[in-house]
Structures are given as structure tokens and as C-alpha cells.
């Protein structure tokens, strides 16, 4: 039964933590947790948004899945891709083929290489060249785009090139890491439309963003990231009514949206490594209680079809 369920999920992340090793005052080594005890699942045909502020470890999550974390970092926990463990070796084989990344912007293209050459990854056979042309055409880019250098692309074109590069091999899992900053709402919606389309084609899309409003326009499920932890996983539909949300931070985030009152959240997210125990949101939470700080590890609970990492989820509503 468990196995059966696993086969359906494309990506299954269980209790994953990512640490940085840092040297302090000469030789004292320190493990700096950037992502702690993360759980996340992506199913075929589904767009899952990971929403969190800058510095909450979102990009590292993408790099962790692809096995391209920086050399001074370490990952713990388990990841499964289509039911099989996603080891570093397996990620190496799958990335670029079954798992694709859509990065943030034009700096992710080699400034000294033509677009076509980058898309084809050095292969020059007819099949690759044809597919490259096809995929560019799909995003409204003519064959002349192949001969352009990244500095000759406009911002929107560059982003379409990046999407094209990701879907060239028809991946099953697409990780989009902040693919829309700097774009106007219309252009951003168009880009997101492409993601929905990819999901309709059976792929799972993991959409990483800091923009909750944008995430809600496309996502089926939203995982809220706070200081390196997923504090809530909710259906996009839950955001229609704040009463249905579970975590105080999610509620605050909801109220901070321009359409819902633009109420700012007091204080700021703790810096990675500064919170070692208790709820990371404790400092900003208006319903914070003693147990929130003293409990070492706050477990994830299931409430109303969603997940929440909070001791008093019902009282979060002020």
C-alpha cells in the first residue's frame, strides 16, 4: 500500500535538513542549519508552490534536490524520486533529463555562449538541433534566437529561453526557482501559464517564490517556508478564507497581501542558525506561549487536510 502510494508521487522529501559548515574564530567548526526537517510531496500534474521570504533557504532546497549543493554544505534526511531513493549519483543521472531546473534569470546563461549552443549542451546531432528549435518555437522564440548571445536577449526572452531549456527533454519534475522577478504581472502570468500547461502534460512542478499572491494564481498546494522550516502545507483553496489557514505566520502572511489589508508582520525572520530549539516564529507570533519556546522540536500535525508545525494552531487566529 505504502509502495503503491509512493509510485504516484514524483518527489517525496522526508525530514530533509541542509547544513552549512562554517569556520568560526579560526578552527572552530560550526554546523549552520539552513533547512530543517523539511517535508514535501509533489504529485504528477500538480503545481506545488514553496513560499518563503528571501533567506529562508528556498533556493538551497532546489539545489539539494538536484544534488548541486555547494561543497561546504551537507544534506540529511531522505528524498525519493518516483519511489526510489534520490541519491547524489541518481540525481546526477536524472538532472537535466527527468528533473529540470528553471533558474531566476539571465545570469544563469553563459555570457560567452550562443543560446542554441547552450540549449544543445554541446551536442550537434540533427535530433538535438531539431528539438532545440522546436522548443524555442513553442515559447514564441524564432530560430534566430539560437544565434544570439545572452546579452542580446531581453529579460522576458531570457526567461523564456530558460524555460525552453528546462523542458527540452520533457522532464517529469520541474523546479522553478523564482522564475518571475522583475517581470510585470502580465508577463509573469504568461510564464506561470506555461507551468500550468506543463503540469497538465503530467509533470510535477515545484514553484519556488517569495510572492504568495503569485503562487496562489497557479498552485494547487502551497508550502509555507519560514526560517528553513515548512510551517504549513495548505491547499491553495484554503487561502480563500483565513479561518481555514492553520499557522499564525500563514495567517499573518495572508493579511500582509495587498488585497487583504496590507498589514505588515512585526519583526523579522530569524537568521539561519540563531534558533536552535522551539518555534522559529515565536519572536513574531502574537499567540506565542511558553511551551512554544521551551519545546525542543515542534512536530508537524495534520489538520483539515493540511499540515502545520504549530503547538496551538487553533489559537493562532487573533
Amino acid at each position: 500500500m505504502e509502495k503503491e502510494k509512493n509510485r504516484e508521487t514524483i518527489l517525496d522529501i522526508r525530514h530533509v535538513s541542509i547544513y552549512f559548515t562554517r569556520y568560526e574564530r579560526g578552527i572552530r567548526r560550526r554546523k549552520l542549519p539552513v533547512i530543517r526537517d523539511l517535508d514535501l510531496r509533489v504529485h504528477p500534474g500538480e503545481v506545488v508552490a514553496v513560499v518563503g521570504a528571501s533567506g529562508s533557504g528556498k533556493s538551497l532546497l532546489a539545489h539539494g534536490i538536484l544534488g548541486i549543493l555547494p561543497y561546504n554544505s551537507r544534506m540529511e534526511g531522505e528524498m525519493f524520486y518516483r519511489g526510489e531513493p534520490l541519491t547524489k549519483e541518481r540525481a546526477e543521472k536524472l538532472r537535466g533529463r527527468q528533473i529540470a531546473l528553471i533558474p531566476q534569470g539571465v545570469t544563469y546563461l553563459d555570457p560567452l555562449m550562443k543560446v542554441g549552443e547552450q540549449l544543445c549542451r554541446g551536442r550537434k546531432d540533427e535530433e538535438t538541433v531539431r528539438r532545440c528549435r522546436e522548443v524555442l518555437d513553442r515559447y514564441g522564440l524564432g530560430p534566430e534566437t539560437e544565434g544570439l548571445y545572452p546579452f542580446e536577449l531581453s529579460g522576458g526572452m531570457a526567461r523564456r529561453v530558460l524555460i525552453a531549456s528546462a523542458v527540452m527533454d520533457k522532464p517529469d519534475l520541474i523546479i522553478a526557482d523564482e522564475p518571475t522577478p522583475g517581470l510585470d504581472v502580465g508577463a509573469a502570468r504568461r510564464i506561470l501559464g506555461h507551468f500550468r500547461e506543463l503540469a497538465r502534460g503530467g509533470a510535477g512542478v515545484l514553484f519556488i517564490t517569495h510572492d504568495l499572491g503569485l503562487a496562489l494564481t497557479i498552485a494547487d498546494r502551497v508550502a509555507v517556508f519560514y526560517a528553513g522550516e515548512t510551517i504549513e502545507e495548505a491547499l491553495a483553496a484554503d487561502f480563500e478564507d483565513p479561518e481555514r489557514l492553520r499557522h499564525p505566520f500563514t495567517k499573518a502572511l495572508f493579511r500582509a497581501m495587498p488585497v487583504h489589508g496590507f498589514a505588515p508582520i512585526q519583526g523579522s525572520q530569524p537568521y539561519p542558525g540563531t534558533v536552535s530549539s522551539g518555534c522559529p516564529f515565536a519572536g513574531q507570533c502574537q499567540a506565542c506561549q511558553e511551551a512554544c519556546v521551551s519545546t525542543e522540536h515542534i512536530p508537524v500535525r495534520q489538520i483539515r487536510g493540511g499540515l502545520v508545525r504549530c503547538l496551538y494552531p487553533e489559537e493562532g487566529n487573533v
Binding site: 539545489h63 538532472r95 537535466g96 531546473l101 533558474p103 531566476q104 545570469t107 544563469y108 553563459d110 550562443k114
Partner: protein, 329 residues
């Protein structure tokens, strides 16, 4: 294309101006030197035995009282007509001496220049790609060791090992001793050039390797390499496709700049190996007060250094797509 030609023309004009400046400064320095034209040309002893009349006659012949400006103008006019004067020490036209010396030096300089550039680039790329691991440590250590070693000392060391102890290679000169010039084969010349060229290459490698390593690390930490990896490109592909592109431009600049270092190094190295090249001629001319030769060697070497930089500027236009695309418009 028009843009490129304009660019090249401008650069060549600048080169002419620079050479003019170099010649003026060299000329001024030489006329300020305490060298007496009579003494250097006739010799102290011969001068002492001459009568006052003869001395005056010679002074008039050598133009001792001609003002420097006029002398310079005369020298420049002759130069533009292809006449660099007569070498005092070799008793031959300077052009002949320089041509002979340059042709034997050129083999040395070019091999050392290309070898040090290519080796330095490859070592730098390897070190950058293996950052922190043993190949990196080895290459870095080697480069630091080499760059803190004087070229002449290294030359002596190589001479000691390969010529004296092992006896594989000749001790000096550019051709075998006592052989008729017609009998000297290309292989003989090459054999004599190996050690000096090797010395120059080894000392030239460090700079290129260390700079390339830094640039390689920058490239490997860049967003676009991260993305290339995310798209499944192997480390090999990343290093050769993205790394080489990224390090090529700075490498060209360094390589152009290293022309002066190689020429400077050749002065010492040729001295150690008694290799009859331009560098050795410069030392001989300097020590022997051979002003016409020294003046011309100064000019020729500055022209070579400037030529190296000009080549780099022109190559930029071919290698850097930003410049190339702008030029095409």
C-alpha cells in the same frame, strides 16, 4: 569590419607615437651619459698618442659639437630610411646585427612564449577545477616556488643538471662548437635552444597559471555553471565548454603582457647559456658602450612588446562576442 580597421589604425598610430617617445627618452639618456664618442670609437690609448690637430679632426668627424637635437633628427631621418647606423662592437650595420640576433632569439622567445602560455593555462584550469584537492595544492605550490625563483638561477640549475651531470644537452651557444656554419643542422639548433627555452617557459608559467586558477574558480562558482550542472552537464563538459571560454579573455591579456617578461627574462637567460640572441646583444651593447646598437635594440624590443598588446586587442574582437557583435553593426 570598418570599425575593426579604424581600431587597428588607431592602435598602430599610437604604437608609432610610443616608439617615437621611447626613442627620444633613450636618446636623451644616452646623450646624458658620460660616454665620449672619441674614446669609445677610437679607444683611450690611441687617443693619447694623437696630436691636438688629429683629435680636433676626429671630433669634427664624429660630430662632437653638433647639438643633440640635430643629432637626434639626423638619427631619426636615417632610421626612417632603414639605416640604424653601424655597430661599434660588431663593426657591421646595426640592422644586420639585429637581424642575425633576432632570428636566433625568435625561436627561443616564441617557443617559450607559446609553451608558457599553453602550459600555464592548462595548469590554471586544472588547479581551478580541482580546487582544494591535491592537484590544486601541487600546482599552486609549484607556481609559488617558481615565481620566487630568479630566472638566471633556474637557468644555472638546469644547466647543471641536464648539461653537466646528465650530459644530455649542450652547455651553451646556439650551434656546436667548431662546426662549419654550413654543416649545422636544424636538429643542432633545436638541441641548443631547448634549455634556454625551457627556462623561459618554466618561469613564465606561474603568473598565467595562478591568474587562470582564480578566474576558473570564479567561473565554476558562477550561476551559469550551476545551471549547466543542473542541466546534467558533466564536470568535463563544464570545464571545457564554459571554463575555457571564461578564462580565455583574461588569459589573452596576460599572454600579451608576458611578452615583455619573456624578453626581459631572455636577457638573463641568454647570458647564462651564452646564447647569441638579442638579449645577449643588449647586454654586450650596454657594457661595451655600443650606443647605436643599444638604441635600436631598445626600439625593437619595445615594438615587440607593443605588438604583443596590439595582437591581444585585435584578438579580443574575435573572442569576445560583445565586441564582435558591436563591431559587426
Amino acid at each position: 569590419m570598418k570599425h575593426r580597421l579604424q581600431f587597428a589604425a588607431k592602435k598602430i598610430l599610437r604604437m608609432a607615437l610610443l616608439l617615437l617617445g621611447v626613442s627620444v627618452v633613450t636618446f636623451l639618456l644616452m646623450s646624458a651619459s658620460p660616454l665620449d664618442p672619441l674614446q669609445t670609437n677610437v679607444g683611450q690609448v690611441a687617443l693619447g698618442t694623437m696630436s691636438q690637430e688629429q683629435v680636433e679632426h676626429l671630433e669634427a668627424y664624429w660630430g662632437v659639437d653638433t647639438p643633440p637635437l640635430e643629432r637626434y633628427a639626423g638619427w631619426l631621418t636615417d632610421l626612417l630610411h632603414g639605416d640604424m647606423g653601424t655597430s661599434l662592437l660588431y663593426r657591421q650595420p646595426v640592422t644586420t646585427v639585429i637581424w642575425q640576433r633576432l632570428s636566433s632569439s625568435l625561436l627561443l622567445l616564441l617557443t617559450a612564449w607559446i609553451l608558457s602560455g599553453v602550459l600555464g593555462l592548462l595548469m590554471g584550469m586544472a588547479a581551478g577545477a580541482c580546487r582544494g584537492r591535491w592537484p590544486d595544492k601541487l600546482i599552486r605550490g609549484w607556481c609559488l616556488l617558481i615565481s620566487s625563483t630568479p630566472a638566471f638561477w633556474l637557468a644555472i640549475l638546469l644547466l647543471l643538471v641536464f648539461s653537466v651531470w646528465l650530459g644530455w644537452l649542450p652547455v651553451g651557444l646556439s650551434v656546436p662548437v667548431g662546426m662549419e656554419s654550413g654543416m649545422v643542422s636544424v636538429a643542432d639548433r633545436l638541441q641548443h635552444a631547448i634549455l634556454p627555452a625551457l627556462t623561459l617557459s618554466i618561469t613564465g608559467v606561474a603568473n598565467m597559471a595562478l591568474h587562470t586558477r582564480e578566474k576558473m574558480i570564479d567561473v565554476l562558482e558562477s550561476d551559469y555553471v550551476l545551471f549547466a550542472k543542473a542541466r546534467g552537464e558533466s564536470m568535463k563538459s563544464v570545464v571545457w565548454r564554459h571554463g575555457l571560454r571564461g578564462v580565455a579573455l583574461p588569459a589573452i591579456t596576460l599572454q600579451a603582457g608576458s611578452v615583455s617578461e619573456i624578453i626581459g627574462g631572455s636577457v638573463l637567460v641568454e647570458q647564462v647559456f651564452s646564447y647569441p640572441g638579442l638579449g645577449q646583444a643588449a647586454v654586450t651593447a650596454g657594457l661595451g658602450s655600443d650606443l647605436p646598437l643599444l638604441m635600436s635594440i631598445t626600439l625593437i624590443t619595445s615594438a615587440m612588446v607593443f605588438g604583443g598588446n596590439l595582437a591581444a586587442d585585435l584578438l579580443y574582437g574575435v573572442v569576445d562576442p560583445k565586441i564582435r557583435r558591436r563591431a559587426a553593426k
